[in-house]
Amino acid sequence: MSEEKHFVFPGELLRKFSKYKVGDGVIKLGSYPVSSLFGILTVNKKTISVIPYKEIYRPKKGDIVIGVVVGYGNSGWFIDIGSYTKAFLHVSEAIKGKFDSRLNDLSDYLRIGDVVIAKVTDVSRLGYFQVSIKGRGLGKITDAYFIKVNPVKLRRIIGRKGSMINLIKEYIGGDIILGKNGVIAYRNGYEAYKKLRKIINIIAEKTFASGLTSYIAEVLKGEK
């Protein structure tokens, strides 16, 4: 993170980048790209995009998310994952075999308040989306601690090519699951969880600081 961070504002004309493709957070008005968010400008090969400094999670197909069951529908559950709308989990995407509403109730499988790791399977044009908990590593979790951060911070928690997350795994250990919606599940003892929470909070606070990975390495070494 040695290069200078360039902050852009909504409406800022990016004249220099008129030949680039527009990515997230950039719109094209006339012939020039214009930033539509307040955040940091990033140039990746031929695409420019703006990383906002705060955002609400927007689901994409294939994302792994962690959410809470908040309601029952006719044929499935509603799951809150901190996005604009609630996700829908159809019963056929949750259980093996057939579901018969005369014999079983939805609450026999998942109850309100249960936490699930799910995969986004479908996002409609209007932003409604469906999730599935069938698959490896997916499903209800009962034995983990959770940390919630803004989804923007995940980029820093993972680091460049996973440098930060590997560093954390090396020093703290345990099973870390990163939900794309900003929820982190952690399976290990409580003491290790407290350590991890402290580190995550430092990263979340200093999202825009440079040289963060080396700083975190120092903190971790000091702890050990």
Partner: protein
Amino acid sequence: MVEKVNYIRYDGRKPDEMRPYQIKTGIFRNADGSAEIKLGGNWIVVAVYGPREHFPKAQLSQDKAILNCRYHMAPYSTSERKSPKPSRREIELSKVIKNALERAILLDQFPEMTIDVYIEVLQAEGSTRVASITAASVALADAGIPMRDMVVGCSVGKINGQLVLDVGEEEDKTGEADLPIAIMPNLKKIVLLQMDGKLTHKEFKEAFELALKGAMQLHEAQIKALMERVKEMEQFGDSR
């Protein structure tokens, strides 16, 4: 541009001088985005929520988000107690501000959603509508809502035949004309233009130029407020 430069106003300002202003952002912990503006005696806070699911479902819009805007004056904001009930003027201003902000927000990115903007005037001293728009667009940027451009407003009045920038309460009451505008400064588009009283064609052109000058000053303050928020976050973190 302004002919009589030695004209002194009731509060000692020059004709083309703004009242002291300050914009702050990230003032509320619970709202998605928030901002505060102090412009002379004006003190306005704005909170932004959303985008969120629209209720009731029967009234949602299929192709774009709905912007809800509430402009409200506190009972203690004016010199005489104001009834907290929304008055005719407040309902009108809510609509005018909504129309101005709608031009800037990319509502088509959020079909079937709602964005709420709550504007609370804690203290009023003239030109509250343009100050509200200025603060609201900072709050929207703070909430991370995509916009074509920031929106910034400024007002110009005419008093004793003299055009004055940033009309205060006294000038609003005794003046001959009043011209609030709101613009998108980078795209150079007008999103709000109202006029009260009479101006000649030539005066109108001059007044408009003067208002643009004031708006650009406020736009700089908007950007400064957002940058300060980043610095603050680096030091103290997101939790507030």
